[in-house]
């Protein structure tokens, strides 16, 4: 009887301790060196398609004359923040083709062999400076289950 009471009390205490310690993930401060490197990478490789400030071109939501989606924005008006670090890294390095393209071309070209894993991580870190706090928090949460691969950390 006494052991049962102790077990029950311990279980209740564990529940309260967990509840008290549980907090919404906070967006950690971004590494300034990574952001600086990433900004340079973005300017060289990404800005021509996605806009100098990640704003893309007007009408990006509609297919162009070739039946392909134009490059989307990477700032708070876009949807980059909705994806985990691992997913974004994969898209940058391997490219991506929109299944609704009218052509067989890749929608986003691959940058493996052009960018090092660390540079890919840097440019994605830079993009995070273009998001709102809420967007960054959401993205942090998504990245917990799909982080950057080991060679990019």
């Amino acid at each position: 009887m006494t052991r049962r009471v102790i077990v029950v009390v311990a279980a209740i205490a564990a529940v309260f301790a967990t509840a008290a310690g549980t907090q919404e993930p906070q967006a950690p401060p971004l590494d300034a060196a990574l952001v600086s490197t990433g900004a340079a990478v973005y300017a060289q490789y990404c800005a021509s398609c996605h806009g100098t400030a990640g704003q893309a071109a007007p009408g990006w939501q509609q297919p162009n004359a070739a039946g392909e989606l134009p490059p989307p924005p990477h700032d708070e008006t876009g949807h980059t923040w909705r994806h985990a670090d691992g997913a974004l890294y994969g898209i940058v390095m391997e490219g991506w083709r929109d299944p609704f393209n009218r052509t067989d071309r890749l929608t986003m070209p691959p940058f493996a062999g052009v960018l090092s894993p660390q540079d890919a991580r840097a440019v994605l870190t830079y993009l995070k400076t273009l998001w709102t706090e809420d967007q960054m928090r959401f993205q942090v949460e998504q990245s917990l289950i799909n982080p950057f691969p080991p060679d990019a950390r």
């Binding site: 989307p72 949807h79 909705r82 994806h83 997913a87 898209i91 083709r97 299944p99 609704f100």
Partner: protein, 293 residues
């Protein structure tokens, strides 16, 4: 240190649990039993939803008041399960990997059918029970999507324990399905009957796009064995797409106003009518037969 007797007792309990669980899994929920009112199948109430549970080989159809089950591909139906008063069924969905049956609708929110035949509310922290569309993730058993017109599309990743508002989405969503068609930046795609048209978005809610040019679209379904294959019904009839909805062509339609569509894992296509009829096609909509009368 655990005693030998205690270890033996625990093993016996585990064995008994596995035996009972196997029975429940094999025969499904205790249909038509406690806590719910049985209702005869058929009638003229519009079919609002169709679903197939691969784990139990059961076909489900719903009207706004009850859900019915068939174990012979729609030929015969067991008396239906009604939902709690004060609401109406607007959608049903089977969670992936044998995750069970969910029902949703205005006034009832999201309900889960428990193993003993009773409904469990799975509304979590949804702001209202005015859910007009429901979809189950094609692969993740605990992930569902619920649409509330006043707010948008919510997602749960813990079987309805908690919900997160993901996106405003297109307006007036009346039907929602989740597909695991390849090519998504996330885990799949959401197709919606919104207003009178069909729209699609990756399930990251990155961009909603209109598909086709439908006249009063009513419902949409995809082939789980070949997710690029879709069927959509509209006022002008039934249409199919073999490329995820990019292009559509008309196909023969059953002689009814189609209110619900379903492609079973076998490839059989089911169409539920606005007058309660059910048709099925085993040849990709080339021909139809009425079943379950």
């Amino acid at each position: 240190m655990i005693s030998t007797q205690t270890r033996a007792a625990k093993s016996a309990c585990k064995a008994a649990f596995r035996f009972v669980f196997t029975l429940v899994a094999a025969f499904g929920p205790w249909w038509g039993s406690i806590a719910v009112e049985a209702q005869e199948a058929g009638g003229s109430r519009a079919v609002v939803g169709l679903a197939y549970d691969q784990a139990t080989s059961a076909l489900f159809k719903a009207d706004d008041g009850a859900i019915y089950r068939s174990l012979d591909d729609g030929a015969t139906w067991q008396p239906g399960l009604t939902v709690p008063e004060g609401g109406a069924i607007g959608a049903i969905a089977i969670a992936a990997q044998g995750g069970g049956l969910y029902a949703a609708g205005p006034g009832i929110g999201v309900l889960f059918l428990d193993g003993d035949g009773s409904w469990l509310a799975r509304n979590g922290d949804l702001p209202t029970t005015n859910v007009t569309a429901l979809a189950a993730h094609a692969d993740q058993p605990a992930t569902l999507y619920a649409y509330i017109p006043e707010f948008g599309i919510y997602r749960t990743e813990d079987a309805g324990g908690t919900w997160q508002l993901m996106d405003r989405g297109p307006a007036d969503i009346s039907h929602l399905i989740h597909s695991n068609m390849p090519g998504s930046m996330q885990t799949g795609w959401l197709y919606a009957i919104a207003g009178e048209g069909v729209q699609v978005s990756m399930d990251c809610f990155c961009l909603w796009r209109a598909l086709g040019a439908f006249d009063a679209a009513s419902t949409i379904a995809y082939d789980p064995a070949n997710p690029t294959q879709l069927y959509a019904a509209s006022r002008r009839g039934l249409f199919q797409s073999s490329n995820g909805g990019l292009d559509w062509e008309a196909v023969p339609s059953p002689p009814a106003e189609i209110a619900a569509l379903l492609v079973a894992p076998s490839g059989t296509l089911y169409a539920g009518g606005a007058g309660g009829e059910l048709y099925r096609s085993i040849d990709g909509a080339a021909t139809w037969e009425r079943v379950g009368d």
